[in-house]
């Protein structure tokens, strides 16, 4: 069941929306008084030549303008606030869903497209909170106009009051295809900006092989497709606007026809006819506003559907209710685990053990890491930590004890030291030194306080790896799983890092998924996964000498 994003966005700001509606209605009402006052001035002052009456009525006009001004001032402020706050709330909800510990929201979506949903679509849904008060004020203007007409003539009044719902219904019908068009057009536009984001993201790769011209040609095609879709939507919207003009013209014509005949037959006065025609013209305003509000609602609905599809994305794993013991010893057990490339893996890691896992198949290593971090539950078999099955634990609870430091971990746009601290207090210097990230800091202009570019892109691969490893070590979790932390690091530094990991993780369970002999040399024990199944187990030195498959995997 998809959440009703639009309804919730409106309900969340109902106070502001209500206040804004009342003020906008006040604005509408006082605006309608202005032409009435013009008539009064003509009648009372210009026609009679009374200077006193002129001054008096101009004073009244000033008062009306004052109210009109203030109603608009505060109606707009509350309405806009409701609009921006709703957009902000949606942005946070989307962030919350994407970051949810159970995962699953990023599946099948470009992150550029997700960012687009969190910015533009959230804004469009929020904008409904401004469109509503304006629409409601227009509606009340229509009703007041209708009531005045009714008091003059039952026929004219009924005509308008019955005609309005009919017109609204027609506007709704006209808006439907627009909504579909708008949906398709926005998808295309999101795709075009997704392609642009992707190309900009791969800028270095493109430049490396001189493919920028080909990429430009490709973007041009995407942009032209998007242009064609936009123009189709714009044409639909233009004809929608045109049709609304015709409809409102018809309403004016009908009022003129009926009112004119009534006046000619003496049923209403000429003054009433003038007022009716004037009101019909005044009603043009609210009716054009309806067309606009309708368009805003159509866009808002299309955007709300996209937001709902993210919020309702299925989670990668179900939650759990079990709790970990107060102090986690770090006994990790895998029993007959089969998942993706993993086949019937049985491993028992003792508390405090430093174990190496060598996989001949990179896919099996990745599958193992996903299971250990509970980014997924294994197809068959089970994993447990201190005897608690992992699939009974909330992923978030599990991650308080088990940290899986992925090979392609992202750094963030903040200082190196803040990246390493990752929101924790305490002295991170030992971790920096163990990961040889202190050497990285020395090459940076402001040392550890240097602010990194987004996702750490201002660092080289080896520097990023060392910063990411320092972060994992500084977190000091009861169980640390590290995947290939030194593939871009030179041999001498790698040896230093191996010693650093050994010293820092002394007495705490650590799983090193790697084929680097420098790292494997410091482990207590190594498990060899060949084709996803365990084929050998033992100390690194023994395996190097005694196992041909191990030797060729580790020592190229």
């Amino acid at each position: 069941m998809r959440p009703n994003v639009l309804g919730r966005a409106i309900r969340g700001q109902w106070r502001l929306v209500t206040i804004s509606s009342v003020l906008y209605a006040g604005h509408q009402g006082t605006e309608a008084l202005v032409p009435v006052l013009i008539g009064v001035v003509i009648d009372d002052a210009v026609a009679t030549g009374s200077g006193g009456a002129l001054l008096r009525w101009i004073g009244v006009l000033a008062a009306v303008f004052l109210v009109l001004s203030m109603c608009f001032r505060f109606g707009a402020r509350t309405g806009e606030r409701a609009s921006y706050q709703a957009g902000h709330a949606l942005r946070l909800q989307l962030t919350e869903r994407v970051l949810d510990h159970r995962g699953g929201a990023e599946a099948n979506r470009l992150s550029g497209a997700l960012v687009n949903i969190a910015t533009d679509d959230a804004k469009r849904v929020g904008a409904v909170n401004l469109a509503l008060p304006i629409g409601i004020a227009a509606l009340s203007g229509l009703v007041v106009g209708g009531v005045v007409l009714l008091s003059m003539s039952l026929t004219l009044g009924l005509l308008v009051l019955l005609g309005i719902p009919l017109l609204l219904w027609a506007a709704h019908l006209l808006g439907k295809p627009l909504e579909r068009r708008s949906h398709a057009e926005q998808e295309r536009a999101a795709h075009a900006s997704g392609v642009a984001t992707d190309l900009v993201g791969g800028l270095r790769v493109l430049k490396g092989i001189g493919a920028a011209p080909a990429a430009i040609a490709r973007y041009r095609r995407t942009s032209q497709n998007s242009l064609a879709a936009t123009l189709r939507a714009a044409r639909a919207e233009a004809w929608h606007d045109g049709a609304m003009l015709v409809l409102t013209g018809l309403v004016v014509a009908v009022i003129a026809l009926v009112g004119g005949r009534l006046a000619a037959q003496g049923e209403i006065s000429v003054g009433n006819l003038v007022a009716a025609v004037g009101l019909a013209q005044f009603l043009l305003g609210p009716l054009t506003i309806f067309a606009w509000v309708n368009g805003q609602l159509a866009q808002g609905r299309a955007s709300a559907a996209r937001i709902a599809s993210v919020l309702a994305a299925p989670y990668s794993v179900p939650p759990g209710t079990a709790a970990l013991p107060e102090s986690v010893a770090g006994r990790l057990r895998l029993h007959a685990v089969s998942h993706a490339a993993l086949r019937q893996v049985d491993v028992d890691v003792a508390p405090g053990e430093l174990i190496g896992v060598v996989s001949t198949d990179p896919g099996a290593a990745t599958a193992l890491l996903e299971c250990l971090g509970r980014e997924t539950d294994p197809a068959t078999g089970s994993l447990s930590l201190d005897g608690v099955p992992l699939d009974t634990l909330n992923p978030d609870e599990l991650r308080t004890a088990v940290l899986v430091a992925a090979h392609d971990a992202d750094l963030f746009e903040e200082s190196l030291i803040d990246n390493v601290r990752a929101g924790r207090d305490g002295d991170v210097r030992p971790a920096l030194s163990a990961a040889a990230a202190d050497e990285v800091a020395e090459t940076l202009p402001d040392g550890v306080r240097t602010v990194l570019a987004e996702r750490g892109r201002s660092l080289s691969g080896g520097q990023r790896q060392r910063a990411a490893l320092a972060r994992a070590l500084a977190a000091n979790p009861p169980v640390l799983v590290v995947h290939d932390p030194t593939t871009a690091v030179d041999a001498m530094t790698e040896a230093r890092i191996a010693a650093g990991i050994r010293a820092t993780r002394d007495g705490r369970t650590t799983v090193l998924v790697t084929t680097s002999p420098a790292l494997l040399a410091v482990t207590d024990r190594v498990v060899l996964l060949d084709g996803g199944a365990i084929s050998a187990e033992g100390e690194h030195a023994d395996l190097v000498h005694g196992n041909e498959r191990y030797r060729t995997t580790v020592l190229a």
């Binding site: 993201g201 045109g242 006819l273």
Partner: protein
């Protein structure tokens, strides 16, 4: 945050008013007849719309003149016809305006992406790629909004104001003068507004950019955020950035309401003056009461179009701020091609007295001299930070050296120019990026006209054909973000296949095998070996097995070449390379 000020400085260029006008003029000239057609159609549509009030007046006259009821039918039918004509012409005019505006926008964003992809990498990195993407997403959508809403409204309002003022002058020339009395209030208001709006909109753009950046950081790094349980912190950051954008938007709203309040004042003063003038003119017998009424109603009818036209000053501000950011990049000079391109004579590389500093005074490379023969394979070795990557990037023409020169096949990089350099040398770094879309499209970035057979041959050469065939839709499988996820090894095999397709005589691999982990590294080393066959190659290697297999090894330390020679020579020499090799082979053998 302390980084904010620096980031603002480091942002990509924004264009000034003159540049923007020139670009808009150029885009308009390319669509001259469309622009004229759109304007003419809107003129007709507005003119037709102004016929409705006189027709209603005619109905009133007929009734007041005690004409028979049936006489009303004619003006009413005319009103219907006018409405239909107005609807039709408006729809047509609006679609023409959309075609004009959207076409200009598409040209502009395409030019933007074209220039963006030619930007020097250093500049993009300093600004953050979020700056580029927010320009191509948020700014483009801001301008699209203006094109879709502001442009047609401006056309209609200006036409209505013009035609109504003509009407007032026809009643009595003095009414026109009185109507223009309030113009100073308008001028002062617009000035007051712009003085505050310009810096405010600039601040809004910066805040929107920062919000976009933060979302890219948080959403793109979601896995890491979850693993380190940084969710609260990142939610708070998104909250903070988003909220500061909201607050700035609200300041904008307060400014705009102040603007309208001042326009309300102008409306009141104007209407009061017109009524007063009517009073005086009627007393003097210069005009009739009916004319005074008409003048007041005409002036009242100007309220909406005047407000609409002046409000567009506001939309125009937003659009111009966005436009400045698009044009700023779109109008960067094209990288200059030398007048007479000197083609490389062979696939040799000569580097002389090369030096480089990213920050002045902070030398990363000094006095590097190096000659590489055609088809020779060189391994570049050294500790992290020794300058290997910088040297690789300089030879590939990514950065311009601060000192010394580089020649490929006897022609300096300047003589070659960017296009020929692109064809001569390729750089594959450790950065893995799979382009979103079908696998074949990704490969065709390297050679757009490659046949499926050529794509398969290239994949086969880097040992990737088996898994590529096994993908759900083969070469048509959608890969990259949002599609089928490839492993790091597969992604780098793809990068090497692109190299095979691009087929440059010189190739530079900067730890291209590093990210895959050592199991994948061996697969990639074999793939790289085949991809490099027949090319002059410079391989930045951290796995010394790669060094041992190359023709010569160059050892860099602190930005200088400290040793050059074959693997055996250097091991025998007992210098820095021998020490490195010892550390390496030590871990490899691990014998007691």
């Amino acid at each position: 945050m302390s980084g904010n000020g620096e980031r603002a400085d480091a942002l990509l260029p924004t264009a000034g008013g003159a540049r923007i006008r020139a670009v808009l003029g150029e885009l308009l000239r390319a669509r001259r007849s469309l622009a004229i057609g759109a304007l003419a159609t809107m003129f007709v549509a507005t003119g037709i719309g102004l016929l409705i009030p006189p027709l209603l007046g005619h109905v009133v006259d007929l009734v007041a003149g005690r004409e028979p009821a049936d006489a009303i039918t004619t003006p009413v039918v005319l009103i219907v016809l006018v409405a239909i004509a107005q609807g039709g012409t408006t729809a047509f005019g609006l679609s023409l305006i959309a075609k004009l505006g959207e076409g200009m926008l598409a040209s502009l964003r395409e030019r933007f992406v074209q220039r963006a992809l030619h930007l020097p990498l250093e500049q993009v990195e300093r600004a953050g790629s979020g700056d580029l993407t927010s320009r191509v997403t948020t700014d483009v959508s801001m301008i699209a909004d203006a094109v879709r809403n502001a442009l047609p409204e401006l056309a209609r309002s200006v036409l209505t104001i013009g035609l109504t003022l003509v009407g007032m002058a026809l009643l009595d020339w003095r009414f026109l003068l009185v109507a223009l009395v309030v113009t100073p209030i308008h001028v002062v208001t617009v000035r007051w507004y712009l003085r505050r709006a310009v810096p405010l909109y600039a601040a809004q753009r910066v805040a929107a950019g920062a919000q976009h950046h933060q979302l890219l950081d948080t959403v793109g790094g979601a896995r890491t955020v979850r693993a380190f349980r940084l969710g609260d912190e990142h939610r708070e950051r998104v909250n903070r950035r988003s909220w500061s954008a909201v607050e700035l938007m609200m300041r904008g709203v307060r400014l705009v309401t102040g603007f309208y309040n001042r326009l309300n004042l102008a409306e009141f003063v104007g209407l009061g003056t017109v009524l007063g003038a009517g009073f005086v003119l009627v007393q003097n017998g210069a005009v009739t009461i009916g004319t005074a009424t008409a003048a007041a109603l005409y002036f009242h009818n100007l309220f909406n179009p005047i407000n609409a036209a002046l409000r567009l000053v506001d939309d125009a501000q937003v659009a111009v701020a966005s436009l400045a950011r698009l044009v700023g990049v779109a109008e960067l000079p094209e990288p200059g091609e030398p007048s007479g391109v000197r083609p490389p004579a062979d696939a040799s590389i000569r580097v002389s007295a090369l030096g480089h500093a990213y920050v002045p005074g902070h030398h990363v490379l000094r006095d590097v001299d190096l000659t590489i023969r055609p088809r020779e394979r060189i391994a570049l070795v050294g500790a992290s930070g020794a300058g290997k990557t910088t040297l690789a990037k300089l030879i590939a023409g990514v950065h311009r050296p601060t000192a010394g020169s580089i020649a490929l096949g006897g022609a300096s990089l300047d003589e070659l120019g960017p296009a020929a350099t692109r064809e001569t040398v390729a750089l594959i770094s450790q950065e893995v990026h799979v382009f979103a879309g079908p696998l074949a499209d990704d490969l065709r970035l390297a050679r757009p006209d490659a046949s499926d057979e050529e794509l398969r041959a290239a994949l086969d050469r880097v040992g990737a054909l088996d898994w590529a065939r096994a993908l759900p839709d083969g070469l048509g499988t959608v890969v990259g973000e949002g599609g089928h996820r490839l492993t790091v090894t597969q992604s780098q095999q793809l990068a090497l296949a692109r190299l095979v397709l691009a087929d440059p005589p010189i190739a530079i691999l900067d730890e291209a095998t590093a990210e895959a982990g050592s199991a994948g590294a061996r697969v990639l080393e074999a793939a790289a070996d085949r991809a490099l066959a027949g090319r002059t190659a410079l391989v930045v290697a951290h796995r010394l097995t790669q060094a041992a297999l190359s023709d010569r090894v160059v050892v860099l330390d602190a930005g200088r070449v400290v040793e050059i020679g074959s693997h055996d020579e250097l091991v025998a020499a007992g210098g820095p390379y021998a020490t490195l090799w010892e550390a390496w082979s030590d871990t490899r053998q691990h014998s007691p």
